[in-house]
């Protein structure tokens, strides 16, 4: 059983895949481009739906990859992926060659670059931030405006970079609605005098206990929900943000001044994943994520025999789904290697 698997990507999916493979007795190389593993999990503060600490999941994953069967290569990324009669040859950015009997691609996602939505003024107006910037503020324990003062009215804009033909992302990123509700509650917890507004097109609460925290946000925390897509944000003379939105339920345009605006940035195929897609024969779908062979019963299998997918490199998904997806990928790897032996 001295088969060697290379897992590309050291985020949630990559770590779970590597850990599970190691449990089964395989030798694993986990390749990660950043200085440390953990991927986007390192950026989050508390996780929905119950607002538990993200470090708890991180600790679970770190324990899982602490096996002696796993070799973690940080600050490394894959430049080329070639298949040959012996299996696979992966070449890193400094020319190192890795031989593998199977490969699992777990390159994850990148957040949509919110400056592309010019009308919201990210990178232009001082107090327009993204959901990720807000998580950073929570982690540092400092919820302030750019001039150091405390914000009083905060707005959330849903669907930034998702469900948007103008930026080329037709799909829904699935997690932003529940993240907005979670962050709205967290702001209300931190700043009891604040007023929070969520500007949404739809409330997509499709997960266990998601609808319940939406209800909690309204009932317990008094978060205001206004249905309408924000058309533009501008800065008034006292540095506040003036937001224009159609209040579709009232049937009239609405104008409001806010201290801070949080953009719920969507998920896109990661840059690293995109590079691998371009230099290999791996297929991507219309949504630019990797396209598995079958959406229902072969969701981890790629179009190259022996290359498998784990996690958000195939589609937006939450941490629970990512971990399950990673375990399913391991199942497919084992299946594949068993067939190879026969």
């Amino acid at each position: 059983m001295n088969k060697h698997i290379v897992v590309i990507g050291g985020g949630t999916a990559g770590m779970e895949t590597a850990g599970q493979l190691a449990n089964e007795g395989f030798a694993v190389s986990l390749v990660e481009k950043e200085k440390e593993t953990g991927g986007h999990l390192n950026d989050w503060y508390k996780l929905f739906p119950d607002r538990r600490n993200s470090s708890e999941v991180r600790n679970y994953l770190e324990k899982k990859v602490s096996s002696k069967n796993i070799r973690i290569l940080t600050e490394t990324y894959i430049e080329k992926l070639r298949s040959n009669k012996d299996g696979f040859l992966l070449i890193t950015q400094d020319g190192t060659e890795l031989k593998a009997d199977a490969v699992v691609v777990a390159t994850g996602f990148d957040l949509f670059k919110s400056s592309r939505k010019e009308e919201y003024g990210y990178g232009i107006y001082d107090n327009v931030i993204t959901s990720k910037d807000l998580e950073t503020m929570f982690r540092k324990g400092k919820l302030t405006l750019s001039d150091g003062s405390t914000p009083n009215t905060i707005g959330f804009v849903h669907c930034v970079g998702s469900r948007d033909e103008k930026v080329g992302n037709f799909y829904c990123s699935k997690l932003c609605c529940v993240t907005a509700v979670k962050q709205a509650i967290e702001i209300r917890e931190h700043l009891p005098d604040s007023k929070v507004f969520c500007f949404y097109m739809d409330m997509r609460m499709g997960g266990a206990y998601y609808e319940e925290i939406y209800r909690e946000a309204q009932e317990v925390w008094g978060v205001n929900f206004i249905r309408g897509k924000v058309s533009e944000a501008s800065e008034s003379i006292n540095n506040k943000l003036v937001v224009k939105v159609e209040d579709t339920l009232a049937g009239r345009p609405l104008k409001m001044e806010l201290d801070m605006l949080v953009l719920m940035a969507g998920m896109e195929m990661s840059e690293g994943g995109g590079r691998i897609a371009m230099t290999s024969e791996l297929k991507t779908g219309e949504n630019r994520f990797f396209a598995p062979e079958d959406h229902h019963y072969a969701n981890n299998i790629s179009n190259i025999k022996g290359v498998f997918y784990a996690g958000t490199c195939t589609a937006p998904m939450n941490i629970t789904e990512t971990i399950s997806h990673a375990r399913a990928a391991v199942s497919e790897v084992i299946n594949y290697l068993r067939k190879q032996k026969d």
Partner: protein, 353 residues
Amino acid sequence: MKLEGKKAIWSEYQKEIADDHYFYVRSCVRQNFFPGSETAFLKIMRKELKKDVYEHPCHTTCTGIGYHGDIVPVETAMTVVARQFSLMTEAGYKNLLPSCITSFGLYTEILDTWHHFPEVEEKIRKQLRKATGREFQKPNNLAHASDVIYKFRKEIAAKAKFKLINKNTGEPLNVVDHIGCHYAKMFPSKGIGGAEYPYVLAGMVEEWGGRVIDYPERRHCCGFGFRQYLVQANRGFSIACSKEKFESMKPFEPDMIITNCPGCPMFLDRWQYVINEMEGKRYGKNGEGIPVFTYEEVAGLILGYKPWDLGLQMHQTDCESVLDKIGIDYDPDEKYNTSIPDEKVRVPNMVKV
């Protein structure tokens, strides 16, 4: 406000602007509203920048005002525009330079339509041939007159005798820039800076010493339109649009407004009087109005042209406050007693169709 973010977006929306040999086509109504502007433009281009700007004596309106007023059908407008192109080809020019923003929008729209639907272009060629016997070539470059002044803003600044600075306080003047909707909103890629953060006038203001005001309703239309404005009873909607802008810019205490469209300065200038009559409101500092200028007037002022030669006496909202702030000398007694400019008026040849 982080300027680097804005500059990043401006840099994405750049366009090619020809640097000489222009075929100038005038606006039908600008010379009524702001008589000195087009003359000032030609003087700056020919005398100061030594450029070749040709005006064909037989060129007409582009019919944009009729097209957008629902009076002229699109194919008629296209045929009239084709005739303009034909005059341009005949005179040996390839760079089209419209004075009016609506013209610019119409020319852009027509060239874009012909690009996507070549059969329409063929049809128009046939129609023009039948009606006038003329042939035409499409222009190589289409740039609005404000694009050209933007392109040469540094050269103008080098020759300028004045800056947009308050000589008493040493502070740059607060300038509101207002761009015509037909410039960037129709085809954002054809406007410098795009539709969200247009830069064509802001660039001029910054180069000439002023400070650009970014106020919430900066992108709002002034309300001119054409269709609604032509009917008197509908003008309430148009004036409400301008009022929305004034209410929004007032806290920023602008010293002046600069525009690049024929209709916008007319609206922003004249409506201040109407709003004052109807509601008693004024939007400038100390209960005054906010003077409105075309970019040619501003260029002319800083180059030292006489204010009354530029036609500033025709403005509804008095401009003297800005002249005083900049330090430009003017004779109040001469205000309605203008001298005739030096250039001899050219008599056109036999009028051809």
